[in-house]
């Protein structure tokens, strides 16, 4: 029953791609996105059924040669990620119906829709792939289709730079994955993922490292994160929603697929936990100083990938230590946070896209007062912000709570490594706690600066509400953020994940909270200051005659105290110079002052590597002088070397 659903869902996506490529009209684009919606619905039903039933199906589709086969595996893990991709795609495709029409060129709009469908299609097939060959093939298709979407506004130099950066990083990721799969093939004689379980535990560490770095680059874990803050602001908002919400999770899926099949070692867990903690903390610290709303969301994605990696790291540590219950809890937390982040980050990117669409700027300092002009978008953004800030009863709260619970129960660890692990876990726990607090601060700032107070610029004053279909696209993840939070314990029970330490019943918490909010609202309404007689008086304005938007709390002002606290991380450099008219330096003539944020990873990691590559390329390019004679000479010498090698050394 399920396979026809899967096949028809995928076929509809392909049909949508072809349709919008063939006919460049608005009707076709809308039809194509309609097909995406329909396909997403079918795939949600399919994934739900597999998750509920817990069955496994292997589909062998096509084989080129013996190891090069298209095989697909449907189990709970892949179904979970198919569910995640389809839910986000459903919202994003509805949102895109109006959003893509913003461009002037018909051809580009159609290409946008076609590439988006292809992108979703390839992501689905990556998570369904049962062997390294089809995984890599669709992984590359996913990378290339998203690359073209990043470079969508190719006239802008920043888009070109972002695309180049993304291309280099994604290629690097593929190199790691490729070497891992070659390693798998050389040891098992097949690319099949089921071979992971057959690997010799001693020889598997190399494959783990290659896979971990490959997936960490794609997921944007620190220090491989630099492509995210470039690529997300450069691409259209619906694509940012898909890339941040879904594509990063595809990398997490790859890591999980491997880790669940092999017998892990303790240091793997420590490595993943350390990477996760650093990514989470640095992600949110960098996000705090950002004034570009989409770049800020990109940094926040790095933070959330860090949280997911923390969950995976804990899972590995507990599993190796023989604590199956805690391992299950950590894994469930990581998996649930994948879904949650996909939902609220796609919602936030879409809402931010609406704001950028209406105000024409991504700079927070130029927004303000939008709650009156875009009330529905404001509400939806608020739901996303509350979820990502992990406030109850939303889904973000549940997954972070599960992570905290796993940390708190770590006293059960025993054995020779227990003291070391306990210290590590306490450090990681404090990083997680700080991250959660800073994430809440971050979203208070973003919501406050964007939507509250007075508009700071004319553009913000002119903004209006976006069309209903765009709101509907955002309403789906928004509703799911609340519903998955409220029904989280039931969802876990329904899909058969045994979580030994119980997940709190958020429906109950939600009920209490709603009751409390209602009580506060009613009491304020009936007994609060507005219920009594009203007196209209002008307030004291500190001696300033008229209040002006420039006097509002600015984005940079809000984060200033935190920037001061974390100045060691930001490595802020202040430089100033002054010239005086007189020799006793009393009469000031001219002065300059500059605040510069040192880009630590750029200066100490990326640039040295780039410069080294550049130097080697310069040397190599000397060999390439454009003359046929020289090339023939190289071939000649290569033949001679080969002859000598095969005769005497082989």
């Amino acid at each position: 029953m399920s396979e026809p659903l899967l096949v028809s869902g995928l076929s509809l996506l392909l049909l949508g791609t072809v349709l919008s490529l063939l006919y460049r009209s608005r009707t076709c684009r809308t039809g194509s996105l309609g097909l995406t919606c329909l396909s997403s619905c079918l795939l949600v039903v399919f994934a739900g059924e597999v998750l509920y039933g817990g069955r496994e199906v292997l589909i062998e589709s096509y084989s080129f040669l013996s190891p090069l086969e298209f095989n697909f595996l449907i189990d709970r893990l892949s179904a979970g990620f198919v569910l995640l991709i389809s839910l986000v795609s459903l919202g994003v495709s509805l949102y895109s119906i109006k959003y893509v029409e913003d461009d002037k060129s018909e051809g580009r709009k159609s290409l946008h829709v076609a590439l988006m469908n292809l992108f979703i299609f390839s992501m689905l097939l990556v998570v369904l792939s049962a062997n390294g060959f089809s995984f890599l093939l669709f992984w590359e298709l996913m990378s290339i289709s998203s690359l073209f979407l990043v470079i969508y506004e190719y006239e802008k130099p920043e888009s070109r730079k972002a695309a180049l950066f993304y291309f280099i990083m994604t290629s690097l990721s593929t190199v790691f994955l490729f070497s891992a799969f070659i390693g798998l093939y050389s040891r098992t004689g097949s690319f099949d993922f089921r071979g992971f379980g057959l690997l010799d535990p001693k020889a598997v560490s190399g494959i783990f490292l290659a896979l971990f770095f490959g997936f960490a680059i794609k997921a944007g874990a620190v220090p491989f994160h630099k492509w995210l803050p470039y690529a997300h602001p450069a691409s259209p908002s619906n694509i940012s929603a898909l890339m941040s919400g879904v594509m990063l999770k595809v990398a997490i899926y790859g890591l999980l697929r491997f880790l669940l099949a092999v017998e892990p070692e303790l240091w793997w867990g420590v490595l993943v936990l350390v990477f996760g903690s650093v990514s989470a903390l640095l992600g949110v610290v960098y996000a705090l100083k950002e004034n570009d709303i989409k770049r800020m969301l990109a940094y926040s994605s790095i933070e959330n990938v860090g949280l997911i990696l923390i969950g995976i790291g804990l899972y590995l540590i507990f599993r190796v230590s023989g604590l199956a219950g805690l391992a299950g809890l950590s894994l469930a937390a990581a998996g649930f946070h994948c879904l949650n982040h996909a939902l609220f980050k796609s919602l936030l990117f879409m809402a931010a896209g609406s704001v950028v669409h209406e105000t024409g700027t991504r700079n927070l300092e130029e927004m303000g007062g939008l709650v009156k002009r875009m009330p529905r978008t404001a509400l939806l953004f608020l739901i996303g912000a509350v979820s990502i800030a992990a406030l109850p009863p939303t889904n973000g709260f549940v997954s972070e709570l599960m992570l905290f619970q796993a940390f708190f129960s770590s006293s059960a660890l025993a054995g020779a490594n227990a003291p070391f692990l306990k210290v590590l876990l306490v450090i990681s726990l404090s990083a997680l706690a700080l991250t959660s607090a800073l994430a809440a601060t971050l979203f208070v700032k973003v919501f406050g600066i964007t939507f509250l107070a007075q508009p700071r610029t004319e553009c913000a004053k002119q903004a209006g509400e976006v069309p209903k279909i765009m709101l509907l696209g955002q309403a789906i993840p928004a509703a799911l953020c609340i519903l998955t939070g409220l029904f989280s314990s039931r969802l876990f029970a329904l899909f058969g994940f045994p979580v030994e330490v119980e997940v709190p019943d958020m429906l109950f918490v939600g009920g209490i909270l709603t009751g409390a909010y209602l009580l506060v609202w009613l009491s304020v309404r009936n007994f609060g200051p507005s219920s009594g007689p009203r007196v209209s008086e002008e307030t004291w304005g500190c001696g300033i005659l008229a209040q002006h938007p420039t006097m509002e709390y600015s984005s940079a002002g809000f984060s200033e105290p935190l920037v001061l606290i974390f100045k060691k991380i930001y490595r802020t450099q202040l430089s100033s110079s002054r010239t005086f008219a007189d020799s006793r330096e009393c009469v000031f003539e001219h002065g300059t002052a500059e605040i510069r944020l040192m880009k630590f990873f750029d200066e100490y990691l990326y640039l040295p590597v780039a410069q080294a590559v550049d130097r080697v390329s310069m040397e190599v390019s000397r060999l390439q002088n454009g003359r046929l004679d020289t090339y023939v000479l190289y071939v000649f010498l290569a033949v001679l070397v080969l002859m000598i090698f095969t005769r005497w050394f082989a």
Binding site: G626, F636, V639
Partner: protein, 230 residues
């Protein structure tokens, strides 16, 4: 009087070995000759020698494929290709190729002696030393390498083409003595086609130039725009 000799394997093997020496001499001439007309003549003679070798080998082994190779070589390389190149030589004004890259003719000859030695030592690791096909393979491999040497050490396009054709002769010789025959026939046909395409292209764009000028013409035709994108 001749027919008993034609059935005597010892005589035939001896004849083939003598022809091998002639083939080497022609290869040396292709490396060192400056006059284009004599270069072409040398190539024609070399191809004729190859056809003869294939024919003699047919008399020893009796395989009809060898006869067809001999015929094919004679028609394509002794008649057809020299005829085409002759036409080209008549059209262009140049008569001599005096330009060399990396190696002057004398040093080229020294290198080719080393190449023959290398081919001998290389193949002695794989074959028995005293068999005929071992010598065939050595000469074939040396001829291929010497052809390649001509390709990068001479600068006129037409000489490069002759170097390429020499190389292909080497492959043919190697194929006759070592590789399984039906397969090599197909390869030969394909290589011949490539040569034909190569010749046609050069005829179309111009042959009276060095390779750099040829490249410039291609640039003018915007085949390679040479522009770099970000």
């Amino acid at each position: 009087m001749i027919s008993p000799l034609l059935t005597d394997p010892l005589f035939l093997e001896g004849a083939i070995k003598i022809l091998f020496v002639f083939v080497l001499v022609t290869a040396a001439l292709v490396i060192s000759a400056r006059n284009l007309a004599s270069l072409l003549t040398t190539y024609t003679i070399q191809s004729l020698l190859l056809a003869l070798i294939a024919g003699l080998l047919y008399l020893i082994e009796g395989s009809p494929v060898l006869l067809s190779i001999a015929a094919l070589t004679f028609v394509s390389k002794v008649l057809l290709i020299p005829f085409f190149i002759n036409i080209v030589e008549e059209k262009v004004k140049i008569r001599r190729d005096m330009k060399f890259n990396y190696l002057e003719p004398t040093s080229s000859l020294m290198v080719s002696i080393a190449l023959v030695l290398l081919a001998y030592v290389f193949l002695s690791g794989f074959f028995a030393l005293d068999r005929l096909f071992f010598f065939g393979a050595v000469i074939g491999l040396s001829l291929t390498l010497m052809g390649m040497l001509v390709m990068f050490s001479r600068r006129k396009v037409i000489t490069k083409v002759l170097g390429y054709l020499t190389m292909e002769n080497g492959v043919l010789l190697f194929g006759i003595f070592v590789t399984e025959l039906p397969f090599i026939i197909e390869v030969l046909i394909i290589i011949d086609l490539i040569i034909l395409v190569l010749l046609t292209t050069i005829l179309a764009v111009g042959i009276d130039s060095t390779i750099e000028e040829y490249h410039q013409r291609l640039l003018k035709l915007k085949i390679w725009s040479g522009r770099e994108y970000l």
